[in-house]
């Protein structure tokens, strides 16, 4: 390249001109000079590398043997505790790791230090000639001509129709994931309703014992399922919809909107445990801040304000279950939830 530190813009060679093409090109630097490695010059170094490669392969052999020691000797001592199992797991993993690593590292070390390292130049294949290209085009034209697809539009159109319809069954197979045999409308209705109904008792999860209003002290949290859940059809699906968190806070601290005045029993409130974002169970209740936190995406709901969303991606407040006490003092639901539980869906409205 020119020496740019001398001269001024008026002189040629400082600023590239249109006809000055040669100035833009780098000369081909060629290959760097071949540098012989230590092993090429010194037979003792070659011998040393040979031993190193052999050592790496030996490490691999030891790793494999170690695997079998761990598998048979550690593994068949009879009944294993978790601690022994952990030791065995670690030993199996280490044995396999060294068995593989020894071979891999050994081969690379062998290739790098002992195998020939002379540089080779291979030219690229010549780009196909115009004739080859024309031959390919001719083949395609012949195929189109021989099938007669242009002359027989009936065949062409039915083929297009068949190909267009063929993938649709695959999409419909997703319907088979629902095993209830219900229509789409019935399934949507199913999402609107839970096992909660007038007079259904609130019971403890998982024991199923009913809860007295007097059992619920200030600041406590009960994990609640509807009574009779264990006998329900599709028990797990019903549980996934109906789970409720029961908490008690000072009624003085609650902001209750019109129409919900009698939904609580002396500060005992029940809310759906299913997050309105993507349906994770929310039960991280902080008794002094009255915050309910969803562990999946940190949506935070304020119990003092009817579980309105105060942080995070959740779309709407948690549905409240209206509750009251029955003649025996047990907590019962007044009705089902007044809105569908869980995340929004198209038909939710």
């Amino acid at each position: 390249m020119g020496d740019h530190s001398h001269g001024s813009p008026e002189e040629s060679g400082t600023v590239a001109k249109a006809d000055d093409v040669a100035q833009d090109r780098f000369p081909d630097p060629g290959l760097p000079p071949h540098r012989p490695r230590l092993a090429d010059r010194d037979p003792r170094a070659a011998k040393r590398h040979e031993r190193q490669v052999a050592l790496l392969f030996t490490i691999s052999i030891i790793g494999t043997l170690f695997f079998f020691v761990a598998y048979f000797v550690l593994g068949h001592l009879g009944e294993m505790t978790f601690a022994e199992l952990r030791v065995q797991n670690a030993a199996l993993g280490l044995g396999t790791a060294f068995a593989m690593l020894g071979i891999g590292v050994g081969i690379v070390h062998w290739a790098k230090t002992l195998m020939p390292d002379h540089e080779l130049v291979e030219q690229r294949h010549e780009i196909s000639s115009e004739k080859d290209r024309q031959d390919a085009v001719d083949i395609i034209d012949t195929v189109i001509e021989e099938t007669g697809i242009k002359r027989r539009p009936l065949i062409r159109n039915t083929l297009i129709g068949a190909i267009a319809l063929a993938p649709i069954p695959a999409i419909f197979m997703f319907r088979d994931l629902d095993r209830t045999g219900k229509t789409a409308h019935q399934m949507i209705e199913q999402m609107r309703h839970t096992l909660w109904d007038t007079g259904v008792r609130l019971t403890r999860d998982p024991s199923g014992t009913p809860i007295k209003a007097s059992d619920v002290q200030l600041g406590s949290a009960f994990h609640v399922i509807p009574e009779g859940l264990e006998n329900a059809e599709n028990m797990l699906n019903e549980k996934a919809k109906a789970v409720v968190l029961l908490m008690r806070m000072d009624p003085q601290e609650m902001n209750i909107s019109a129409g919900r005045e009698d939904w609580h029993v002396d500060g005992i409130v029940a809310y759906s445990k299913i997050c309105t974002h993507v349906g994770c169970p929310i039960a991280l209740y902080e008794q002094h801040t009255h915050h309910l936190l969803c562990p999946c995406h940190q949506s935070t709901f304020d119990l003092a304000n009817e579980c309105k969303v105060i942080f995070g991606p959740a779309g709407h407040a948690l549905p409240q279950l209206p509750i009251t006490v029955d003649a025996d003092g047990y907590l019962v639901a007044q009705s089902d939830f007044h809105e569908p539980v869980g995340p929004s869906y198209w038909e939710r409205g």
Binding site: R35, R37, L38, A39, T81, F82, A83, L85, R86, N89, A90, G93, V108, K112, T113, R204, D205, P206, I211, K212, D215, V216, Q217, L218, G219, S220, A221, F222, H223, M247, P281, I282, A283, L284, Y285, E286, Q287, H288, T289, H291, L293, P295, Q298, T300, F311
Partner: protein, 264 residues
Amino acid sequence: MKALSKKRRHPLAAVALLLFGLLVTGSLYTAAGSVSEAKAADTTSASVTDVEEGQKLFVANCATCHGMSAEGTADGPSLIGVGAAAVDFQVGTGRMPMQMQGPQAQAKPVQFDDDQISQLSAYVASLGAGPAIPDEDSLDTTKGDAAHGGTVFRVNCAMCHNAAAGGGALTRGKFAPTLAGVSEKHIYEAMATGPQNMPVFNDSNITPDEKRDVITFLKTIEANGSAGGAALGNLGPVAEGLFVWTAGLGIIIAFTIWLTSRPS
């Protein structure tokens, strides 16, 4: 503490202390006469001297925030009716006396010896009925059912404390601590009293037997350790991801550099 020790020499301090002592002793005697069986059972272990010693400790160490007669102030909640278990937990784990205001009181080296803690507990228990310190039988993990305890734990506790009891984050700087290394008694007391923002799990919610099962479960998983290798604090994808991105990718990069380097 400083503000209190200054007020100690106030001319009215002696009068206030005398009045306070009279009031407490008086209400104690009234309580002792008319208390139900249950409450009497809660406080039988505490002698009158324990209560008096506990009161002295309370006034010297706790009253700044909780008020001279534990009625609560703007800086600290009322302790009337929290029970001996709450004091034993909060003071026994070093959470109280609090070192500084923050999102939540954290465990630190315990500030009192066992006698002082039991005196403090006796004093607070004498103010109103509350959960008592559990007896040996409720904490005996040889009698608990770890499998059932695991079920109860996963329903009631795992969402905050994590399925492997490794702890987890809550809102605005608060967190649920790890349960590894927490004594049986303190686990029981935490369930019974609901310290700080933890909800209360009273005996009608999780029975004493179930509490023992939960403790048995926690002690079992703690003794067994993680069957899948290094637990990385049992914190899940955050710790595991950090490990893989630094150690795992670091090893891959090191191998790549070695593969492409020229031997000497």
